[in-house]
């Protein structure tokens, strides 16, 4: 074997200095910087985004339906629900079982009660082991805790290696979909960004653009001291971390650098390795319509003595950050989520406004549930109203989370906690009284019918309802034909 080991003739091209926008600081928070209404208007003002979301998600939904045709799909979802519900109902037991196995396979485990601890723990591991560059594979947990800024603040170079996340990092953007981070970006925007980084005009061709990213990321993989990943599942009976990717960056991240750090929410536990035979087809089938993703990597600790490659150390940082507070309560089922994104794809609200409108890390119905639960009613509570309660999310959820009930429960909690103004409460109190009496109900609908006819123009009531102009600004009422 010839051994040309001179720098940079092999394995990629270094990324230009200053290629990445500075990471968002934990204090830099769109959820509190703009109201839900403003964020939604921004989303509505991006017609490309609406079209892109429609194209991508329609394709995914059709692919999902075809994937499960001829199988007992509902029975599989029911098994998935049981596995997730049992795991969460017995979380302390399964966590202890996982810990015993992880200890045995040589994994070092850390415990982060909140976002700040997670940032500190990861930064400390890096500093203690002289890490100057980390490569990351996609991790929603790291988005939750704003991990990148914590590492950059102590002088560590961070490189996102998922293609979409790489674009997000270069642009200083935020991901807008749980599995398709740059669904809201056009090819032209990616080309412009990459051309700036390359110092030359790159062709308008996804293959060429991907090739450019690959070269820079290859170099990062070959020079990184640590790799940071998330985890799709933690398997209690084997102590393993399961990672599901299509690009292969997950495995390179956790195999090439000398240290692997996985930041994983505690709710990712599943009881048994065999449960993956149910959960993997649900995750990939509902997520992308794929039979299986290209890579499913299952890690059980660092490299062993007789193995040719792999990291010297494997660290797992277990993240609580609001999860334990949901156990045993009315919103526990939110922890069953396996982050496939199907509820996002099908949600009529998400499809119009896009992921950024949700203001935090998770979009769509599950985002409207998790954000107020993890971030509090004060910052995230409005989101439970960012839904039509149509129930499409319940029907598509691979593990049958009753998202619609959770959203309704969050609305009720919001009212109970006094987050809703007196005007709105009084209106609904009167409405409730009127509509629970048949005579008044009939009278009210007759009045409504009559007034709509007066207000309508060409069969459409648009921005003309007195006192409801905010509500009608984004909605048209179509009058039905008189029977």
């Amino acid at each position: 074997m010839s051994t040309p080991t001179t720098d940079d003739s092999l394995g990629g091209t270094p990324l230009p200095i200053g290629w990445a926008a500075p990471a968002h600081q934990p204090s830099d928070d769109p959820l509190t910087e703009a109201t839900l209404t403003v964020r939604m208007q921004e989303g509505l003002a991006r017609p490309f985004q609406r079209e892109a979301i429609a194209n991508a998600t329609d394709h995914t939904i059709v692919a999902m339906e075809q994937r499960f045709a001829g199988t007992a799909h509902d029975e599989l979802r029911e098994q998935g629900r049981k596995i997730r519900a049992t795991a969460i109902a017995n979380l302390p037991d399964y966590l202890e079982q996982w810990l015993a196995q992880a200890d045995a396979n040589g994994t070092t485990v850390h415990f982060a009660a909140n976002d700040g601890e997670a940032r500190q723990i990861v930064a400390d591991i890096c500093l203690e082991h002289d890490v100057s560059r980390v490569v990351k594979s996609k991790s929603m947990a790291s988005e939750e805790v704003s991990l990148n800024s914590a590492l950059e603040n102590v002088g560590i170079d961070v490189v996102e290696t998922d293609l979409g996340e790489f674009v997000v990092q270069a642009m200083g953007d935020r991901p807008s979909h749980v599995i398709a981070p740059i669904l809201h970006r056009t090819r032209g925007e990616v080309r412009e960004q990459f051309s700036k980084m390359a110092g030359e005009e790159l062709p308008d061709d996804p293959a060429a653009l991907t090739g450019f990213a690959r070269e820079g990321l290859r170099h990062a993989f070959l020079t990184a001291d640590a790799g940071i990943s998330g985890g799709n599942f933690l398997v209690a009976d084997t102590g393993e971390i399961v990672m599901v990717t299509n690009e292969g960056n997950g495995r390179l991240t956790t195999s090439l650098p000398r240290i692997h750090i996985a930041l994983v929410g505690i709710e990712k536990l599943i009881p048994r390795r065999t449960d993956l035979a149910v959960l993997l087809p649900l995750l990939t089938g509902h997520g992308t319509g794929q039979l299986i993703t290209t890579y499913v990597s299952v890690v059980a600790g660092p490299r062993r003595a007789d193995e040719p490659d792999g990291p010297e150390q494997t660290h797992v940082v277990l993240l609580d950050s609001g999860r334990s507070g949901l156990l045993g309560g009315p919103f526990e089922e939110a922890l069953h989520c396996i982050r496939c994104g199907a509820c996002q794809n099908i949600c009529p609200v998400y499809r119009q406004v896009g992921g950024h409108a949700y203001g935090w890390v998770y979009g769509g119905p599950i985002g409207a549930v998790l954000t107020p639960l993890f971030r509090g009613q004060k910052d995230g509570g409005e989101l439970s109203h960012a839904t039509t309660l149509c129930g499409a999310c319940d029907d598509v959820c691979p593990v049958k989370i009753p998202l619609h009930d959770l959203l309704l429960g969050l609305r009720q909690r919001r009212v109970a906690e006094g987050c809703v103004g007196w005007g709105e409460r009084a209106t609904f109190a009167v409405w409730g009284q009127v509509w629970s009496r048949p005579l008044l109900y009939r009278a009210s609908t007759a009045v409504a019918r009559g007034s709509l006819r007066v207000l309508a123009k060409d069969g459409v009531v648009s921005r003309r309802l007195p006192g409801l102009s905010k509500w009608t600004a984004g909605r048209d009422l179509l009058l039905g034909r008189r029977r």
Binding site: A89, T210, F221, L327
Partner: protein, 218 residues
Amino acid sequence: MTDRAAFLATLRATPRGKNPGLPDRSSTPDAPTELRAGEDPIGRFQRETEATSASMSRVTRDTVGVAVVAALHAAGAQRVALTTDLGPHLEAVRSACWAAGLEVADYADVAPQRRQAAALDATVTGCLAAVAATGSIVTSAAAGRAGALIAPTHVCVVREDQLLPGLHALLSGDVLSAAGSLFALQSGPSRSADIEKTLILGVHGPGRVDVLFVELER
């Protein structure tokens, strides 16, 4: 920082939710990742492998070496590494590559230098098992964590007796006990559709995957 005892104590202090019980571990789920009743495993494996944009050729014990060289030539590969999970085919593959004038190394010798490993044109590996219903090969850390995806081309030799029907058989059997610190299902070339949903192969892992399926002598 929170220590283990305090972290667990917080969890232990929470009320317990409803516990529906787990599905029976021994029964195969009715999922797309399992074979249908009476389905031919080899035919399904070939179909699913090709559906991922990988190729699959059927070879015999005696033609493995020739087939590996043909695949490497087709990919234009010169620098090649072999992993130990080629097992009974390792020496035949090595001599065929030598005879064809390729630069051949053992992956275990190359792996410690990441840059050398990344300069490979191709890796030729065996596998721990293969899964018919998903068109997947199962690789393991015992043969190398990154060996099957570090180079632009991956040639994988699968023996017929390694083929399992579906995901459940893989996960519930004992074949994974030999995996070491990692096992992975790999199904076709590396792919991304992040840029306007346009499918691109070879993003980080190989853009080209050739599966050579060694049929049993009958």
